[in-house]
Symmetry: C2
Subunit: 299 residues, 2 copies
Protein backbone atom coordinates (compact mmCIF):
# COMPACT_ATOMS: atom_id res chain seq x y z
CA UNK A 1 0.00 0.00 0.00
CA UNK A 2 1.24 3.49 -0.95
CA UNK A 3 0.44 6.25 1.56
CA UNK A 4 -0.46 9.56 -0.13
CA UNK A 5 -0.68 12.61 2.10
CA UNK A 6 -3.09 15.40 1.09
CA UNK A 7 -3.59 18.76 2.83
CA UNK A 8 -7.37 18.71 3.46
CA UNK A 9 -10.68 16.86 3.17
CA UNK A 10 -11.45 19.17 0.26
CA UNK A 11 -8.26 17.99 -1.47
CA UNK A 12 -9.29 14.34 -1.01
CA UNK A 13 -12.65 15.16 -2.54
CA UNK A 14 -11.14 17.06 -5.48
CA UNK A 15 -8.53 14.40 -6.25
CA UNK A 16 -11.27 11.84 -6.62
CA UNK A 17 -10.69 8.12 -7.19
CA UNK A 18 -7.07 6.92 -6.80
CA UNK A 19 -5.56 3.49 -7.61
CA UNK A 20 -6.64 0.67 -5.27
CA UNK A 21 -3.21 0.26 -3.72
CA UNK A 22 -3.31 3.83 -2.33
CA UNK A 23 -4.25 4.88 1.19
CA UNK A 24 -4.89 8.61 1.71
CA UNK A 25 -4.03 10.52 4.87
CA UNK A 26 -4.69 14.17 5.64
CA UNK A 27 -1.99 16.41 7.06
CA UNK A 28 -1.87 20.20 7.05
CA UNK A 29 1.77 20.34 8.13
CA UNK A 30 1.00 21.58 11.60
CA UNK A 31 0.46 18.39 13.61
CA UNK A 32 2.30 15.14 14.19
CA UNK A 33 3.66 13.58 10.99
CA UNK A 34 1.51 10.70 9.72
CA UNK A 35 3.50 7.43 9.36
CA UNK A 36 4.56 5.77 6.10
CA UNK A 37 3.99 8.71 3.74
CA UNK A 38 5.63 8.21 0.32
CA UNK A 39 3.84 10.92 -1.68
CA UNK A 40 3.24 14.33 -0.07
CA UNK A 41 1.12 17.23 -1.34
CA UNK A 42 1.76 20.21 0.95
CA UNK A 43 -0.89 22.81 1.69
CA UNK A 44 -1.42 25.54 -0.93
CA UNK A 45 -1.03 28.43 -0.57
CA UNK A 46 1.42 27.41 2.11
CA UNK A 47 2.68 29.39 5.05
CA UNK A 48 5.56 28.02 7.13
CA UNK A 49 7.26 25.05 5.48
CA UNK A 50 6.56 21.69 7.17
CA UNK A 51 9.21 19.55 8.85
CA UNK A 52 9.81 16.53 6.59
CA UNK A 53 12.31 14.83 8.90
CA UNK A 54 9.61 12.56 10.31
CA UNK A 55 8.88 11.04 6.87
CA UNK A 56 11.65 8.53 6.25
CA UNK A 57 9.72 6.75 3.49
CA UNK A 58 9.04 9.94 1.49
CA UNK A 59 9.70 9.62 -2.28
CA UNK A 60 7.77 12.54 -3.85
CA UNK A 61 6.84 16.08 -2.85
CA UNK A 62 4.23 17.39 -5.29
CA UNK A 63 3.70 21.16 -4.92
CA UNK A 64 0.59 22.95 -6.17
CA UNK A 65 2.60 26.12 -6.90
CA UNK A 66 4.81 26.83 -9.92
CA UNK A 67 7.43 28.52 -7.73
CA UNK A 68 9.53 26.23 -5.54
CA UNK A 69 11.41 28.75 -3.38
CA UNK A 70 12.61 27.14 -0.14
CA UNK A 71 11.72 23.59 -1.18
CA UNK A 72 14.90 22.31 -2.85
CA UNK A 73 16.79 23.00 0.41
CA UNK A 74 14.06 21.32 2.45
CA UNK A 75 13.53 18.15 0.41
CA UNK A 76 15.87 15.36 1.60
CA UNK A 77 18.16 13.46 -0.75
CA UNK A 78 16.32 10.65 -2.49
CA UNK A 79 13.06 12.60 -2.70
CA UNK A 80 11.74 13.91 -6.04
CA UNK A 81 10.33 17.46 -6.06
CA UNK A 82 7.58 18.32 -8.55
CA UNK A 83 5.90 21.68 -9.06
CA UNK A 84 2.43 22.77 -10.14
CA UNK A 85 3.32 23.92 -13.63
CA UNK A 86 0.06 24.26 -15.59
CA UNK A 87 -2.14 24.82 -12.55
CA UNK A 88 -1.85 28.59 -12.25
CA UNK A 89 -0.07 29.62 -15.44
CA UNK A 90 -3.18 30.50 -17.42
CA UNK A 91 -4.67 32.41 -14.53
CA UNK A 92 -1.44 34.33 -13.90
CA UNK A 93 -0.97 35.18 -17.58
CA UNK A 94 -4.59 36.31 -17.65
CA UNK A 95 -3.93 38.79 -14.84
CA UNK A 96 -0.82 40.01 -16.67
CA UNK A 97 -2.88 40.66 -19.81
CA UNK A 98 -5.55 42.44 -17.76
CA UNK A 99 -2.98 44.64 -16.04
CA UNK A 100 -1.06 45.42 -19.21
CA UNK A 101 -4.23 46.35 -21.14
CA UNK A 102 -5.47 48.42 -18.18
CA UNK A 103 -2.23 50.44 -18.27
CA UNK A 104 -2.20 50.87 -22.08
CA UNK A 105 -5.89 51.76 -22.40
CA UNK A 106 -5.92 53.85 -19.20
CA UNK A 107 -8.69 51.97 -17.43
CA UNK A 108 -8.06 53.64 -14.02
CA UNK A 109 -8.59 57.02 -15.74
CA UNK A 110 -11.93 55.90 -17.20
CA UNK A 111 -13.03 54.34 -13.89
CA UNK A 112 -12.46 57.72 -12.22
CA UNK A 113 -14.50 59.36 -15.00
CA UNK A 114 -17.25 56.81 -14.38
CA UNK A 115 -17.31 57.67 -10.67
CA UNK A 116 -17.60 61.36 -11.59
CA UNK A 117 -20.12 60.84 -14.40
CA UNK A 118 -17.70 62.34 -16.94
CA UNK A 119 -17.66 61.34 -20.65
CA UNK A 120 -14.30 62.24 -22.20
CA UNK A 121 -13.14 59.67 -24.74
CA UNK A 122 -9.43 59.74 -25.53
CA UNK A 123 -7.10 57.89 -27.85
CA UNK A 124 -5.60 54.89 -26.08
CA UNK A 125 -2.77 52.57 -26.95
CA UNK A 126 -3.42 49.05 -28.14
CA UNK A 127 -1.18 46.01 -28.38
CA UNK A 128 -1.06 46.13 -32.19
CA UNK A 129 2.58 46.55 -33.21
CA UNK A 130 3.82 46.73 -29.61
CA UNK A 131 7.16 45.03 -29.03
CA UNK A 132 6.77 42.79 -26.00
CA UNK A 133 9.87 41.36 -24.34
CA UNK A 134 8.78 38.28 -22.43
CA UNK A 135 11.24 37.00 -19.83
CA UNK A 136 10.37 33.37 -19.17
CA UNK A 137 9.37 30.57 -21.53
CA UNK A 138 7.27 28.53 -19.09
CA UNK A 139 3.58 27.98 -18.70
CA UNK A 140 2.78 31.62 -17.89
CA UNK A 141 4.89 32.88 -20.78
CA UNK A 142 3.25 30.57 -23.30
CA UNK A 143 -0.25 31.71 -22.36
CA UNK A 144 0.75 35.36 -22.33
CA UNK A 145 2.45 35.15 -25.69
CA UNK A 146 -0.55 33.53 -27.35
CA UNK A 147 -2.97 36.10 -25.95
CA UNK A 148 -1.04 39.26 -26.87
CA UNK A 149 -0.21 37.92 -30.33
CA UNK A 150 -3.95 37.75 -31.04
CA UNK A 151 -3.92 41.54 -30.79
CA UNK A 152 -0.87 42.07 -32.98
CA UNK A 153 1.92 42.37 -30.40
CA UNK A 154 5.38 41.24 -31.53
CA UNK A 155 6.74 39.01 -28.78
CA UNK A 156 10.41 38.23 -28.17
CA UNK A 157 10.92 35.51 -25.58
CA UNK A 158 14.05 35.49 -23.41
CA UNK A 159 14.87 32.53 -21.19
CA UNK A 160 17.77 31.18 -19.18
CA UNK A 161 18.38 28.20 -21.49
CA UNK A 162 19.04 28.72 -25.20
CA UNK A 163 16.57 26.92 -27.45
CA UNK A 164 14.77 27.46 -30.75
CA UNK A 165 12.86 30.74 -30.96
CA UNK A 166 14.12 31.90 -27.59
CA UNK A 167 16.80 34.52 -26.88
CA UNK A 168 19.09 34.27 -23.89
CA UNK A 169 19.70 36.59 -20.97
CA UNK A 170 23.06 37.84 -22.28
CA UNK A 171 21.18 39.41 -25.22
CA UNK A 172 19.12 41.64 -22.93
CA UNK A 173 21.30 44.76 -23.37
CA UNK A 174 20.52 44.79 -27.10
CA UNK A 175 16.82 43.93 -26.62
CA UNK A 176 15.79 46.36 -23.88
CA UNK A 177 16.11 49.65 -25.84
CA UNK A 178 13.40 48.56 -28.31
CA UNK A 179 10.95 47.00 -25.83
CA UNK A 180 7.58 48.74 -25.43
CA UNK A 181 6.60 46.20 -22.78
CA UNK A 182 8.64 43.89 -20.53
CA UNK A 183 6.81 40.99 -18.87
CA UNK A 184 8.54 39.12 -16.02
CA UNK A 185 7.49 35.47 -15.95
CA UNK A 186 10.66 33.97 -14.49
CA UNK A 187 11.15 32.04 -11.28
CA UNK A 188 13.01 33.72 -8.45
CA UNK A 189 16.49 32.21 -8.20
CA UNK A 190 19.88 33.55 -7.08
CA UNK A 191 20.63 34.37 -10.73
CA UNK A 192 17.33 36.13 -11.48
CA UNK A 193 16.84 38.05 -8.22
CA UNK A 194 17.60 41.71 -8.78
CA UNK A 195 17.75 41.21 -12.56
CA UNK A 196 15.59 44.28 -13.12
CA UNK A 197 17.90 46.86 -11.57
CA UNK A 198 18.46 50.56 -12.27
CA UNK A 199 20.57 49.82 -15.37
CA UNK A 200 17.95 47.42 -16.79
CA UNK A 201 15.22 50.02 -16.30
CA UNK A 202 17.36 52.87 -17.65
CA UNK A 203 17.87 50.90 -20.88
CA UNK A 204 14.10 50.86 -21.58
CA UNK A 205 12.59 53.57 -23.80
CA UNK A 206 10.38 56.31 -22.35
CA UNK A 207 6.85 55.12 -21.63
CA UNK A 208 7.74 51.42 -21.55
CA UNK A 209 5.55 49.21 -19.35
CA UNK A 210 6.98 46.72 -16.85
CA UNK A 211 4.65 43.85 -15.93
CA UNK A 212 5.61 41.70 -12.94
CA UNK A 213 3.36 38.78 -12.11
CA UNK A 214 6.29 36.50 -11.18
CA UNK A 215 8.18 37.39 -8.01
CA UNK A 216 8.94 40.74 -6.38
CA UNK A 217 12.57 39.91 -5.76
CA UNK A 218 13.30 39.97 -9.50
CA UNK A 219 13.05 43.78 -9.32
CA UNK A 220 15.05 46.44 -7.50
CA UNK A 221 12.01 48.17 -6.05
CA UNK A 222 13.75 51.46 -5.23
CA UNK A 223 15.00 51.79 -8.80
CA UNK A 224 11.50 51.09 -10.15
CA UNK A 225 9.90 53.60 -7.77
CA UNK A 226 12.30 56.26 -9.05
CA UNK A 227 11.37 55.56 -12.70
CA UNK A 228 7.64 55.65 -11.84
CA UNK A 229 7.90 58.85 -9.80
CA UNK A 230 9.64 60.60 -12.68
CA UNK A 231 6.78 59.28 -14.87
CA UNK A 232 9.30 57.90 -17.35
CA UNK A 233 8.12 54.29 -17.07
CA UNK A 234 4.80 52.62 -16.32
CA UNK A 235 4.07 49.34 -14.54
CA UNK A 236 1.59 46.68 -13.55
CA UNK A 237 2.69 44.80 -10.42
CA UNK A 238 1.04 41.84 -8.71
CA UNK A 239 4.10 40.79 -6.68
CA UNK A 240 6.48 42.65 -4.38
CA UNK A 241 9.70 42.03 -2.53
CA UNK A 242 7.76 42.53 0.71
CA UNK A 243 4.25 41.02 0.88
CA UNK A 244 1.91 42.33 2.11
CA UNK A 245 3.23 45.59 0.67
CA UNK A 246 3.87 47.62 3.86
CA UNK A 247 1.70 50.56 4.86
CA UNK A 248 3.24 53.79 3.63
CA UNK A 249 5.42 52.06 1.00
CA UNK A 250 6.08 54.55 -1.85
CA UNK A 251 4.61 52.15 -4.43
CA UNK A 252 1.13 52.66 -2.95
CA UNK A 253 1.13 56.30 -4.06
CA UNK A 254 3.51 56.21 -7.05
CA UNK A 255 2.09 57.48 -10.37
CA UNK A 256 1.86 55.38 -13.53
CA UNK A 257 1.38 52.07 -11.71
CA UNK A 258 -1.45 49.61 -11.14
CA UNK A 259 -1.03 47.26 -8.16
CA UNK A 260 -2.90 44.09 -7.22
CA UNK A 261 -2.21 42.09 -4.02
CA UNK A 262 -0.62 38.90 -5.44
CA UNK A 263 -3.81 37.50 -6.92
CA UNK A 264 -2.34 36.17 -10.19
CA UNK A 265 -2.83 32.50 -9.49
CA UNK A 266 -5.74 32.72 -7.14
CA UNK A 267 -8.77 32.20 -9.31
CA UNK A 268 -11.63 29.84 -8.73
CA UNK A 269 -10.93 26.60 -10.53
CA UNK A 270 -7.28 26.12 -9.55
CA UNK A 271 -8.34 23.22 -7.33
CA UNK A 272 -9.82 21.37 -10.27
CA UNK A 273 -6.63 21.82 -12.30
CA UNK A 274 -4.34 21.23 -9.30
CA UNK A 275 -5.87 18.01 -8.07
CA UNK A 276 -6.24 16.67 -11.59
CA UNK A 277 -2.44 16.97 -11.71
CA UNK A 278 -2.12 15.24 -8.31
CA UNK A 279 -4.37 12.37 -9.41
CA UNK A 280 -2.30 11.84 -12.55
CA UNK A 281 0.99 12.02 -10.65
CA UNK A 282 -0.14 9.48 -8.04
CA UNK A 283 -1.25 7.16 -10.83
CA UNK A 284 2.16 7.48 -12.48
CA UNK A 285 3.98 6.97 -9.18
CA UNK A 286 2.05 3.82 -8.30
CA UNK A 287 2.49 2.47 -11.86
CA UNK A 288 6.23 3.16 -11.73
CA UNK A 289 6.01 5.65 -14.62
CA UNK A 290 8.05 8.84 -15.06
CA UNK A 291 6.48 11.80 -13.24
CA UNK A 292 5.84 15.14 -14.97
CA UNK A 293 6.80 18.63 -13.68
CA UNK A 294 9.96 17.27 -12.06
CA UNK A 295 12.09 20.05 -10.54
CA UNK A 296 14.70 17.73 -9.02
CA UNK A 297 14.93 13.99 -9.43
CA UNK A 298 15.45 12.12 -6.15
CA UNK A 299 14.85 8.39 -6.44
CA UNK B 1 -7.07 59.84 -64.37
CA UNK B 2 -9.00 58.52 -61.36
CA UNK B 3 -9.83 61.12 -58.68
CA UNK B 4 -9.56 59.74 -55.15
CA UNK B 5 -10.93 61.90 -52.36
CA UNK B 6 -9.31 61.63 -48.91
CA UNK B 7 -10.40 63.41 -45.72
CA UNK B 8 -7.13 65.13 -44.71
CA UNK B 9 -3.47 65.85 -45.45
CA UNK B 10 -2.65 63.26 -42.78
CA UNK B 11 -4.69 60.69 -44.71
CA UNK B 12 -2.78 61.46 -47.91
CA UNK B 13 0.47 60.98 -46.01
CA UNK B 14 -0.67 57.71 -44.40
CA UNK B 15 -2.01 56.23 -47.66
CA UNK B 16 1.39 56.73 -49.26
CA UNK B 17 2.15 56.04 -52.92
CA UNK B 18 -0.87 55.33 -55.17
CA UNK B 19 -0.94 54.17 -58.81
CA UNK B 20 0.23 56.76 -61.36
CA UNK B 21 -3.19 57.23 -62.90
CA UNK B 22 -4.59 58.53 -59.57
CA UNK B 23 -5.04 62.16 -58.58
CA UNK B 24 -5.77 62.83 -54.90
CA UNK B 25 -8.03 65.58 -53.59
CA UNK B 26 -8.76 66.47 -49.99
CA UNK B 27 -12.31 67.03 -48.77
CA UNK B 28 -13.55 66.95 -45.21
CA UNK B 29 -17.22 66.93 -46.21
CA UNK B 30 -17.83 70.47 -45.06
CA UNK B 31 -16.95 72.57 -48.13
CA UNK B 32 -17.83 72.57 -51.82
CA UNK B 33 -17.68 69.16 -53.43
CA UNK B 34 -14.48 68.58 -55.45
CA UNK B 35 -15.19 67.66 -59.09
CA UNK B 36 -14.69 64.27 -60.75
CA UNK B 37 -14.43 62.15 -57.59
CA UNK B 38 -14.81 58.40 -58.26
CA UNK B 39 -13.42 57.00 -55.00
CA UNK B 40 -14.41 58.66 -51.70
CA UNK B 41 -13.01 58.05 -48.20
CA UNK B 42 -15.17 60.03 -45.76
CA UNK B 43 -13.77 61.49 -42.57
CA UNK B 44 -13.38 59.13 -39.61
CA UNK B 45 -14.71 59.34 -36.99
CA UNK B 46 -17.37 61.19 -38.90
CA UNK B 47 -19.97 63.61 -37.61
CA UNK B 48 -22.74 64.75 -39.94
CA UNK B 49 -22.93 62.69 -43.13
CA UNK B 50 -21.74 64.54 -46.27
CA UNK B 51 -23.96 65.40 -49.23
CA UNK B 52 -22.97 63.09 -52.11
CA UNK B 53 -25.36 64.60 -54.67
CA UNK B 54 -22.58 66.75 -56.13
CA UNK B 55 -20.48 63.69 -57.06
CA UNK B 56 -22.06 62.29 -60.25
CA UNK B 57 -18.96 60.24 -61.13
CA UNK B 58 -18.75 58.51 -57.72
CA UNK B 59 -18.21 54.74 -57.91
CA UNK B 60 -16.90 53.75 -54.44
CA UNK B 61 -17.42 54.94 -50.88
CA UNK B 62 -14.76 53.36 -48.65
CA UNK B 63 -15.56 53.82 -44.93
CA UNK B 64 -12.92 53.53 -42.22
CA UNK B 65 -15.52 52.21 -39.73
CA UNK B 66 -16.88 48.68 -39.45
CA UNK B 67 -20.40 49.96 -38.81
CA UNK B 68 -22.24 51.47 -41.79
CA UNK B 69 -25.33 52.96 -40.11
CA UNK B 70 -26.85 55.71 -42.27
CA UNK B 71 -24.63 55.02 -45.30
CA UNK B 72 -26.67 52.51 -47.34
CA UNK B 73 -29.51 55.07 -47.51
CA UNK B 74 -27.09 57.83 -48.47
CA UNK B 75 -25.06 56.07 -51.16
CA UNK B 76 -26.67 56.53 -54.62
CA UNK B 77 -27.50 53.63 -56.94
CA UNK B 78 -24.47 52.54 -58.91
CA UNK B 79 -22.03 53.28 -56.06
CA UNK B 80 -20.31 50.47 -54.15
CA UNK B 81 -20.13 50.83 -50.36
CA UNK B 82 -17.17 49.23 -48.51
CA UNK B 83 -16.54 49.21 -44.78
CA UNK B 84 -13.43 49.22 -42.59
CA UNK B 85 -13.59 45.59 -41.49
CA UNK B 86 -10.18 44.71 -40.05
CA UNK B 87 -9.21 48.27 -39.09
CA UNK B 88 -10.73 48.43 -35.61
CA UNK B 89 -11.73 44.83 -34.89
CA UNK B 90 -8.60 43.88 -32.97
CA UNK B 91 -8.65 47.05 -30.95
CA UNK B 92 -12.34 46.66 -30.12
CA UNK B 93 -11.97 43.01 -29.15
CA UNK B 94 -8.99 44.01 -27.01
CA UNK B 95 -11.15 46.46 -25.06
CA UNK B 96 -13.82 43.76 -24.66
CA UNK B 97 -11.23 41.38 -23.18
CA UNK B 98 -9.94 44.11 -20.87
CA UNK B 99 -13.44 44.96 -19.66
CA UNK B 100 -14.48 41.34 -19.22
CA UNK B 101 -11.33 40.45 -17.26
CA UNK B 102 -11.68 43.62 -15.16
CA UNK B 103 -15.20 42.53 -14.18
CA UNK B 104 -14.26 38.89 -13.47
CA UNK B 105 -11.06 39.69 -11.52
CA UNK B 106 -12.61 42.72 -9.78
CA UNK B 107 -10.03 45.24 -10.91
CA UNK B 108 -12.09 48.29 -9.76
CA UNK B 109 -12.12 46.78 -6.25
CA UNK B 110 -8.33 46.40 -6.23
CA UNK B 111 -7.82 49.90 -7.65
CA UNK B 112 -9.84 51.28 -4.72
CA UNK B 113 -7.67 49.21 -2.37
CA UNK B 114 -4.58 50.66 -4.04
CA UNK B 115 -5.89 54.21 -3.49
CA UNK B 116 -6.45 53.38 0.17
CA UNK B 117 -3.19 51.47 0.64
CA UNK B 118 -5.09 48.31 1.56
CA UNK B 119 -3.74 44.77 0.89
CA UNK B 120 -6.61 42.27 0.91
CA UNK B 121 -6.18 39.52 -1.70
CA UNK B 122 -9.32 37.65 -2.62
CA UNK B 123 -10.22 34.76 -4.89
CA UNK B 124 -11.21 36.05 -8.33
CA UNK B 125 -12.84 34.39 -11.29
CA UNK B 126 -10.86 33.50 -14.37
CA UNK B 127 -11.92 32.63 -17.90
CA UNK B 128 -10.94 28.97 -17.52
CA UNK B 129 -14.08 26.90 -18.07
CA UNK B 130 -16.29 29.96 -18.57
CA UNK B 131 -19.00 29.52 -21.21
CA UNK B 132 -18.85 32.56 -23.47
CA UNK B 133 -21.72 33.23 -25.86
CA UNK B 134 -20.36 35.41 -28.64
CA UNK B 135 -22.94 37.17 -30.80
CA UNK B 136 -21.26 38.11 -34.05
CA UNK B 137 -18.82 36.20 -36.25
CA UNK B 138 -17.00 39.16 -37.78
CA UNK B 139 -13.60 40.66 -37.24
CA UNK B 140 -14.21 41.62 -33.60
CA UNK B 141 -15.68 38.23 -32.81
CA UNK B 142 -12.75 36.34 -34.32
CA UNK B 143 -10.19 38.28 -32.28
CA UNK B 144 -12.20 37.95 -29.09
CA UNK B 145 -12.73 34.23 -29.53
CA UNK B 146 -9.02 33.58 -30.06
CA UNK B 147 -8.01 35.61 -27.01
CA UNK B 148 -10.44 34.12 -24.49
CA UNK B 149 -9.79 30.57 -25.74
CA UNK B 150 -6.13 31.03 -24.75
CA UNK B 151 -7.37 31.21 -21.16
CA UNK B 152 -9.68 28.21 -21.37
CA UNK B 153 -13.03 29.82 -22.11
CA UNK B 154 -15.52 27.74 -24.10
CA UNK B 155 -16.88 29.97 -26.84
CA UNK B 156 -20.14 29.46 -28.71
CA UNK B 157 -20.55 31.82 -31.66
CA UNK B 158 -24.01 32.94 -32.76
CA UNK B 159 -24.53 34.85 -36.00
CA UNK B 160 -27.32 35.92 -38.29
CA UNK B 161 -26.33 33.57 -41.10
CA UNK B 162 -26.01 29.82 -40.53
CA UNK B 163 -22.58 28.42 -41.36
CA UNK B 164 -20.16 25.82 -40.05
CA UNK B 165 -19.34 26.16 -36.35
CA UNK B 166 -21.80 28.99 -35.87
CA UNK B 167 -25.22 28.83 -34.23
CA UNK B 168 -28.09 31.00 -35.35
CA UNK B 169 -30.21 33.57 -33.55
CA UNK B 170 -33.24 31.30 -33.24
CA UNK B 171 -31.16 29.03 -30.97
CA UNK B 172 -30.60 31.80 -28.41
CA UNK B 173 -33.40 30.69 -26.04
CA UNK B 174 -31.63 27.37 -25.49
CA UNK B 175 -28.14 28.94 -25.27
CA UNK B 176 -28.74 31.85 -22.86
CA UNK B 177 -29.45 29.83 -19.68
CA UNK B 178 -25.96 28.30 -19.73
CA UNK B 179 -23.96 31.42 -20.69
CA UNK B 180 -21.56 32.80 -18.09
CA UNK B 181 -20.64 35.65 -20.43
CA UNK B 182 -22.46 37.21 -23.40
CA UNK B 183 -20.42 39.38 -25.77
CA UNK B 184 -22.24 41.59 -28.28
CA UNK B 185 -20.20 42.03 -31.45
CA UNK B 186 -23.05 42.49 -33.94
CA UNK B 187 -23.84 45.44 -36.17
CA UNK B 188 -26.86 47.56 -35.33
CA UNK B 189 -29.65 46.76 -37.81
CA UNK B 190 -33.45 46.80 -37.59
CA UNK B 191 -33.33 43.07 -36.76
CA UNK B 192 -30.64 43.34 -34.04
CA UNK B 193 -31.71 46.58 -32.33
CA UNK B 194 -33.35 45.77 -29.01
CA UNK B 195 -32.24 42.12 -29.25
CA UNK B 196 -31.03 42.19 -25.64
CA UNK B 197 -34.36 42.94 -23.99
CA UNK B 198 -35.79 42.05 -20.57
CA UNK B 199 -36.58 38.47 -21.66
CA UNK B 200 -33.06 37.94 -23.07
CA UNK B 201 -31.51 39.19 -19.82
CA UNK B 202 -33.92 37.23 -17.62
CA UNK B 203 -32.85 34.02 -19.39
CA UNK B 204 -29.22 34.49 -18.27
CA UNK B 205 -28.02 32.79 -15.09
CA UNK B 206 -27.27 34.80 -11.94
CA UNK B 207 -23.90 36.56 -12.10
CA UNK B 208 -23.62 36.41 -15.89
CA UNK B 209 -21.59 39.20 -17.52
CA UNK B 210 -22.88 41.19 -20.51
CA UNK B 211 -20.16 42.80 -22.64
CA UNK B 212 -21.25 45.38 -25.21
CA UNK B 213 -18.56 46.89 -27.41
CA UNK B 214 -20.81 46.93 -30.51
CA UNK B 215 -23.71 49.38 -30.47
CA UNK B 216 -25.88 50.65 -27.62
CA UNK B 217 -29.12 50.17 -29.52
CA UNK B 218 -28.71 46.38 -29.37
CA UNK B 219 -29.67 46.57 -25.68
CA UNK B 220 -32.83 47.68 -23.87
CA UNK B 221 -30.99 49.95 -21.45
CA UNK B 222 -33.81 50.17 -18.89
CA UNK B 223 -34.01 46.38 -18.67
CA UNK B 224 -30.23 46.16 -18.21
CA UNK B 225 -30.22 48.88 -15.53
CA UNK B 226 -32.84 46.90 -13.59
CA UNK B 227 -30.72 43.72 -13.70
CA UNK B 228 -27.61 45.65 -12.59
CA UNK B 229 -29.39 47.48 -9.79
CA UNK B 230 -30.69 44.18 -8.39
CA UNK B 231 -27.06 42.99 -8.66
CA UNK B 232 -28.21 39.85 -10.48
CA UNK B 233 -26.13 40.51 -13.62
CA UNK B 234 -22.81 42.26 -14.29
CA UNK B 235 -21.69 44.22 -17.34
CA UNK B 236 -18.93 45.94 -19.24
CA UNK B 237 -20.26 48.62 -21.60
CA UNK B 238 -18.36 50.79 -24.08
CA UNK B 239 -21.41 51.82 -26.13
CA UNK B 240 -24.79 53.29 -25.23
CA UNK B 241 -28.08 54.08 -26.92
CA UNK B 242 -27.39 57.74 -26.12
CA UNK B 243 -23.81 58.99 -26.53
CA UNK B 244 -22.41 60.85 -24.70
CA UNK B 245 -24.18 59.03 -21.88
CA UNK B 246 -26.29 61.86 -20.38
CA UNK B 247 -25.51 63.41 -17.01
CA UNK B 248 -27.53 61.75 -14.29
CA UNK B 249 -28.20 58.61 -16.35
CA UNK B 250 -28.76 55.66 -13.96
CA UNK B 251 -25.93 53.66 -15.62
CA UNK B 252 -23.35 56.11 -14.23
CA UNK B 253 -24.14 55.01 -10.69
CA UNK B 254 -25.41 51.45 -11.22
CA UNK B 255 -23.53 48.70 -9.32
CA UNK B 256 -21.78 45.77 -11.03
CA UNK B 257 -20.89 47.69 -14.17
CA UNK B 258 -17.73 49.12 -15.74
CA UNK B 259 -18.26 51.87 -18.34
CA UNK B 260 -15.89 53.37 -20.90
CA UNK B 261 -16.83 56.24 -23.27
CA UNK B 262 -16.91 54.44 -26.66
CA UNK B 263 -13.15 53.99 -26.96
CA UNK B 264 -13.16 50.45 -28.39
CA UNK B 265 -11.81 51.30 -31.81
CA UNK B 266 -9.92 54.42 -30.94
CA UNK B 267 -6.38 53.28 -30.38
CA UNK B 268 -3.23 54.69 -31.83
CA UNK B 269 -2.38 52.80 -34.97
CA UNK B 270 -5.82 52.64 -36.59
CA UNK B 271 -4.59 55.11 -39.23
CA UNK B 272 -1.84 52.75 -40.32
CA UNK B 273 -4.31 49.86 -40.66
CA UNK B 274 -7.06 52.04 -42.14
CA UNK B 275 -5.00 53.70 -44.85
CA UNK B 276 -3.25 50.45 -45.73
CA UNK B 277 -6.78 49.21 -46.56
CA UNK B 278 -7.49 52.37 -48.58
CA UNK B 279 -4.24 52.01 -50.56
CA UNK B 280 -5.07 48.40 -51.41
CA UNK B 281 -8.66 49.24 -52.37
CA UNK B 282 -7.59 52.10 -54.66
CA UNK B 283 -5.07 49.76 -56.30
CA UNK B 284 -7.81 47.18 -56.88
CA UNK B 285 -10.24 49.82 -58.17
CA UNK B 286 -7.77 51.25 -60.68
CA UNK B 287 -6.76 47.74 -61.81
CA UNK B 288 -10.40 46.75 -62.26
CA UNK B 289 -10.15 44.03 -59.59
CA UNK B 290 -12.85 42.97 -57.14
CA UNK B 291 -12.86 45.15 -53.99
CA UNK B 292 -12.80 43.65 -50.49
CA UNK B 293 -15.11 44.59 -47.56
CA UNK B 294 -18.02 45.20 -49.93
CA UNK B 295 -21.23 46.00 -48.04
CA UNK B 296 -23.33 46.71 -51.17
CA UNK B 297 -22.28 46.30 -54.77
CA UNK B 298 -23.09 49.30 -56.96
CA UNK B 299 -21.32 49.23 -60.31
Amino acid sequence: VTVVCLPSEEAVHEVGPLPEAVRTVIWDGSRRTPPGVEFLVPEYPGGAKPDLSGMPELKVVQLLSAGVEGWPELVPDGVTLCNGRGVHGGSTAELAVLGLLAVLRRLPHYLRQQEQGVWEPGVGEGLDGKRVLLLGAGDIGEHLRAAVEVFGAEVTTVARRARSGVRTMDELPSLLPSADVVVLALPSTPSTNGLVDAAFLAALPDGAVLVNIARGRLVDTDALVAELQSRRLRAFLDVFDQEPLPEGHPLWTAPNVILTPHVGGGTQGWQRRGYRLVREQVRRFVAGEQLVNVVSEGY
